[in-house]
């Protein structure tokens, strides 16, 4: 199994470790709930060095990125970050990712750890039509920290000496460390709070982590990363998004605009729009204490299966039993009464907005 540059720090701190996306990753240190609350109320730091980084550059870089990505990078200014997906011919999601635009000829893409090999192969395949674009998998070079929470900007400044006050939501900047290494910092994240993602070579990330620990910043594992993103209604690849689920079905149509000129998967989305969706991703609020986990059946009021749970938790911030689920379109209206089957029992549920928690972004 792969490890990040902070693996020995995690094990020395006694973190609960578990495999994720091919890496041995920390799930929690002090406890998922404590770490979750630290991010909502103050600040926490995540080792997310498992994420993949790909640079696409060359005279045809813009054309290639526009071809494989649901978002358009043409009108976007350098220094901006765009969230979107790569789709297959059927409109299913190959991966969801961030694209950092350095210039029309140079892009930095951040992809999910579990999909690195698949994504890079897919990009190379698509790049055959764009011979003047180069796809460079730099995942081994970059390590990454996510510093998240209302105190993130101050922490970046006071602890790491990185002034982020000039960064607005979904923008980034690059700088050189004292030793000349390239670093990237963006005002982005996966928690529903203000925060930053900091990319640098391993030795700088280890140094930054140690400074953050010394300053008392809460170390946070993938456990609370999942509970935080869930509350904010953000999808996780493998749960809400797969090769078989389109962005429209996942409720992410705003990130896959079909009015953009041709891109891979666009025709399938146009067809799906014309024909109407047969299933949709919804939020569920569930009665009782049983937790609806990924894959559990969703039933209508009569007990017929109408879908499955994609993610479910007892929300730490909201103290409610919640789930996201992919259900038949006729059951997706807000207020629809449904049921969730948890092992041998069923529990009443009602369709609610899947953005359970309103994010606190600094726009």
């Amino acid at each position: 199994m792969k490890t990040t540059c902070l693996h020995s720090q995690h094990t020395a701190m006694g973190a609960l470790m578990s495999p994720f996306g091919g890496f041995d990753m920390p799930i929690s240190y002090r406890g998922i709930e404590e770490e979750h609350r630290a991010v909502r109320s103050a600040v926490g730091v995540f080792d997310v060095s498992h994420m993949g980084e790909v640079r696409i550059y060359g005279p045809q870089a813009l054309e290639l990125v526009n071809h494989i990505f649901t978002g358009s990078l043409t009108e976007v200014a350098p220094g901006k970050v765009v969230y979107g997906m790569m789709l297959n011919e059927n409109g299913g999601v190959v991966d969801d990712l961030l694209v950092y635009k350095r210039s029309d000829t140079d892009f930095f893409l951040v992809i999910n750890a579990s999909n690195i090999d698949k994504d890079v192969a897919w990009m190379h395949l698509q790049a055959e039509r764009f011979p003047q674009a180069t796809v460079d998998d730099q995942s081994e070079h970059w390590a990454e920290l996510a510093i998240q929470g209302p105190e993130a900007e101050r922490t970046m400044q006071d602890v790491l000496g990185i002034d982020c006050s000039d960064l607005t939501f979904y923008t980034f900047k690059e700088f050189k460390a004292a030793d000349g290494s390239d670093c990237v910092v963006s005002r982005t994240g996966y928690t529903g709070e203000d925060g930053f993602e900091y990319y640098a070579p391993a030795h700088l990330i280890v140094e930054a982590w140690e400074r953050l620990m010394k300053a008392g910043v809460e170390p946070c594992g993938l456990g609370c990363r999942d509970t935080l993103r869930f509350e904010a209604g953000l999808p996780l690849y493998g749960d809400e998004l797969t090769d078989e689920i389109t962005p429209l079905e996942a409720g992410l149509g705003m990130f896959a605009k079909v009015d953009k000129p041709a891109f891979m998967g666009r025709d399938a989305l146009v067809r799906q729009k014309e024909q109407g969706l047969t299933r949709k991703t919804v939020g569920l609020e569930i009665e009782g204490r049983a937790i609806a986990r990924h894959g559990y059946p969703v039933l209508d009021a009569e007990g017929n299966q109408v879908g499955t749970v994609t993610t479910g938790y007892h929300s730490i911030t909201l103290d409610k039993n919640l789930a996201m689920a992919l259900v038949d379109a006729h059951c997706a209206a807000l207020g629809t009464p449904l049921q969730v089957q948890v092992r041998r029992k069923t529990f009443p549920a009602v369709v609610v907005k899947k953005r359970f928690y309103t994010p606190n972004y600094k726009k």
Binding site: G31, G223, R289, A290, I291, R293, K345
Partner: protein, 123 residues
């Protein structure tokens, strides 16, 4: 007398009655318990078979019964306060079972043997 399964459930035995719960080690590994899925009164449970589940924030874990018999009581305190299990899992049992085959106890782990199982898991 107290006996254990390698899956971290205990049976504390008084006469023909077994109090079934999860070990201290299991409670520590789980983290905060948020829900305990318990059988109903008078349900039958079978040795080595699943009788319910315990949920932490992150995951649901099946519960296995060390003994066979009928459920004569469930710990109702755990319905509203599942975290009692984190405070003291060996006091806060989950179900009380009237055993129908006390010979099954011979196949269970002693506290010493169970401690070895935990030590091996920690590698």
């Amino acid at each position: 007398m107290i006996y254990y399964l390698p899956t971290h459930e205990y049976a504390r035995v008084e006469g023909n009655t077994a109090y079934i719960g999860i070990s201290k080690y299991a409670a520590e590994q789980l983290g905060n318990v948020v829900y305990v899925d318990m059988p109903e009164m008078d349900d039958d449970v079978n040795a080595g078979e699943e009788f319910g589940a315990i949920e932490s924030v992150k995951a649901a874990s099946d519960l296995f019964s060390p003994v066979s018999g009928a459920v004569i009581e469930i710990n109702e305190e755990l319905i509203d306060n599942p975290r009692l299990i984190n405070e003291d899992p060996e006091t806060h049992w989950i179900i009380k079972v009237e055993m129908n085959n006390t010979a099954e106890l011979e196949g269970l782990l002693t506290p010493e043997a169970y401690a070895q199982v935990c030590a091996n898991e920690k590698h």
